[in-house]
Amino acid sequence: MIDPVSRPDRPMWDDGVQPQTINELIQARIDGRLSRRDLVRRAAQIGIAAPVIGVMLHATSDDAFGAPNPGRPSGATARFQETVPADKATAPEGAPQTGGTLSIGTNEEPDTLNPYVTQLVTSSDILAGVMSRLLKYDSTQQLQPDLATGYEIAEDGLTYTFNLRGGVKFHNGDPFTPQDVIDTWKMIMNPDFGAFSQLGWEKIKDITSPDGERLVITTTEVFAPFLSYVGSDYISPAKELAKGPEKFKQEFGRAPVGSGPMKLVEWTAKQQVTLEKFPEYFGGPAKLDKIILRILPDDNTQLVQLRTGEIQMVGGAGALGATRVDEALGIENITVLEHATLGWSHLDLKHIDFLRETKVRQALDFATPTQQIIDKLLKGRAVISVADQAPGSWAFNPDIQPRPFDTKQAEALLDEVGLVKGSDGVRERDGKKFEMELWGIAGSTEAQQIIQVIAQSWNGIGIKTSPQFQDVSTIWGPEGYQFTDKMTACLYSWFNSNDPDDMFYWHSSQIPDSPTGTGGNLPAYFHEYNFQAQIDDLTSRAVKTTDQEERKQLYFQIQQLLHDEVPVIFMYWGKSFPAIAKNIGGFWPSAFNRLLWNVQDWYLTQ
């Protein structure tokens, strides 16, 4: 959303771009120099699209709901708080109490709680507190012991040996044994079961246990992300797995049996999921007695319930988006935390026509006001990205600087490759005009605003840009933009996993062979990248070694190559904003694990 507060010391847009006028218009409306009708008329004259006008009106309306204005306190309780970085566990003042119930609001109902077939983040949020894995990621992206107390990788990189924790019990009373891991592997690989991900598991040749305390996994090839997939996947009890693929899929999905700190006691459809502490948890019983996840599909309702105290937390899949944060900051008993995510928002550039030329893609990057979008539309609640590895992860290359927003350089680059403006102001070469479609996901105001701003900037340098919006199923289906022969860009996010492996995005093996084909390298559908051989070589070498230092150097090179070649325009890393009552302690959310990952440490103060 556009910030209605004028900041004369910080110009909103660099010169050469229209939106400077947007700011002036808004200020004029706030000062009362302009009526609403005038605002609409003038905005339309300078070519601002309807959705943006809507936002301007909203931003300038006197009674914009729930938008606390720092300069104008609207009541005795209105206070301006700041978000708090989630860099450690929360530790409120006051004595921790034992027991208690915590209600958490989430925006979607789990589809199924079977960890191998769920497609929703909410399910993983819950499963993180109900089930255990061999190893788990903490909030600094370090692997920590869980069912395994330690592990060793053999010299050849093919054999993994895990030391298993003794005395672990599942919620059904069964002890944890190596057989549980073996049967979990067999279920995931069973075609009748149809697990959603076999990644890592399909590299396993055999699993044995020489003494019942150690687990030896041999693999068919060196695969660096192995631990991050297999090591941190959930282990189910053998007795449940023995029910067979169909029954296991159906029954376990409604009543999962894990060995985590919380066990599932009730799930009422579309209403709530109730968890209770498991007194025999191997890490000691949880401090809270009960966790209730209330399903609240409307985010306004979530904010209302935070206000009334009916829920004390929104987090995980239900955490606030950047545009709702201000409303939550106005609630007195609520703290809004913030942490980075592994989702990178970008514009992919279909590798076709002019877009096959590196200089053209660089020009588009120069002409995209990414930092301004982050500062103004997203109110600074995102981190600019230069390539595909998250800041803070070990594979992130800190030496790459983002291209500045500089339309003069953009125009110079386009002139240089012979794309010059015709009589209608649109650039062309050999009779072919530079016309682009700019796609976004329908229904997201954020995406709409961003796309309008970029379209305006690109139009300004002589690239005729027309925005298009569609729902996700359409965009990713066979009728999607990727498979038309027009020049297009599309705004969306990829979400990385804990391992930096990025073959899925760039490798030639990941180019779909048809509109229904699989793979993430969509821009290269018509033509391989002009640096395809290089990126193929680097990305595949980087998963063929388990030496982290060697991998790091390879990922540094990959990021530099991506920055130079601009196969997509890197925009920003999204942030997540869990909001919690001020008396919740031990809560430490991050992008590297799911909501209930350390639920055994959570407590309430008196």
């Binding site: 149809g194 959603f196 579309k270 009334t308 009916e310 199923s473 993430g520």
Partner: protein, 315 residues
């Protein structure tokens, strides 16, 4: 009468088959599909996706899928949900009663309120009460559900603290009183549109009946005004009203989607909407067919009511 009901019910069967076929075809025509996102999932291999498509039956031709579905339907089997991996009948049955509660409460509320308001407004045409109800009606008609719902939440849950803001029960409670408290706001929200429309309708049809000769006769023979209005006028004014109500019942089913979302009411509207987003065809088909059944039944009830209200109508 019984014969008529049976004939109508049998006649509904081809209708329902037609509805199923149309819904099925339209669903298939929509771009994307239940597997559209799989292809862009970094963790799924092409073989796995082919295998999942096979398990779902998506690799068969469309007409075959439709025939299998219809065949199963006749045996009362609605299939297995693509995303929840349990029988669609169970998935729907989990939430169906909740929607019935919400819709029934909304219907009763708007019937009572619109009858009372409509008749009272008609009795003093252009009087103070009439003007007030017209104003309120237009307000009610113009209001978007999600906004109105939010305003009610802010007033009754946040400011006054009288009612819970959403959900069907408070945590750890399942009593009737608790349900009523949670039901009040959503029932009113879902009813507000039809209260507005229907009370205008009752008003005009009452005005029409008030001018009839038999009303003058009733008054002339010395009946009390109460008796004239609520006994003679209302009964006759109701006949066209029943038609309007039966036509509007499907609107309640669609209105339930928004109301249930705003109030986190665990009903069928939300089930439908959630399933639509992920193209869970079996659940979508199940809810559509159930919706069609409800509409057919609603119309049947309306037809039976005509007979009760007007002795001249015989089946």
């Amino acid at each position: 009468m019984l014969r008529y009901v049976i004939r109508r019910l049998l006649g509904a069967i081809p209708l329902l088959v037609g509805v199923s076929v149309l819904s099925f075809v339209f669903m298939q025509l929509a771009p994307g599909g239940p597997d559209a996102l799989f292809a862009r999932n970094a963790r799924m291999s092409p073989e796995q996706i082919a295998n999942i498509r096979h398990n779902m039956g998506l690799d068969r031709p469309m007409h075959e899928q439709l025939l299998v579905w219809l065949g199963n339907l006749l045996q009362g089997d609605l299939g297995i949900s693509y995303t929840q991996y349990r029988p669609v009948t169970t998935v729907i049955w989990d939430v169906f009663p909740n929607t019935v509660i919400l819709i029934t409460a909304g219907l009763l509320l708007s019937l009572v309120v619109s009858l009372v308001f409509g008749v009272l407004a008609a009795r003093r045409q252009y009087g103070f009460f009439d003007n007030v109800t017209s104003f309120v009606s237009y307000f009610g008609l113009a209001m978007p559900v999600f906004w109105f719902g939010l305003m009610l939440q802010l007033l009754f849950a946040v400011k006054l603290g009288w009612l819970p803001s959403a959900n069907m029960h408070s945590i750890g409670e399942d009593g009737f009183w608790d349900l009523l408290k949670h039901l009040a706001l959503p029932a009113f929200t879902i009813a507000i549109g039809s209260i507005a429309g229907w009370s205008r309708y009752v008003r005009s049809s009452t005005l029409e009946v008030l001018g009839q000769d038999y009303v003058r006769t009733a008054r002339a023979k010395g009946l009390r005004e109460q008796r004239v209005v609520w006994g003679h006028v209302l009964k006759n004014a109701l006949i066209p009203f029943v038609t309007v109500v039966s036509i509007d019942i499907p609107l309640y089913l669609t209105g339930a989607v928004l109301t249930e979302t705003v109030y986190a009411w665990p009903g069928m509207g939300r089930l439908f909407f959630d399933s639509l987003a992920v193209r869970d065809y079996p659940v979508l088909m199940g809810t559509l067919v159930l919706g069609a059944v409800l509409i057919v039944l609603g119309n049947l009830v309306a037809d039976i009511l005509y007979g009760l209200l007007d002795p001249r109508i015989k089946y």
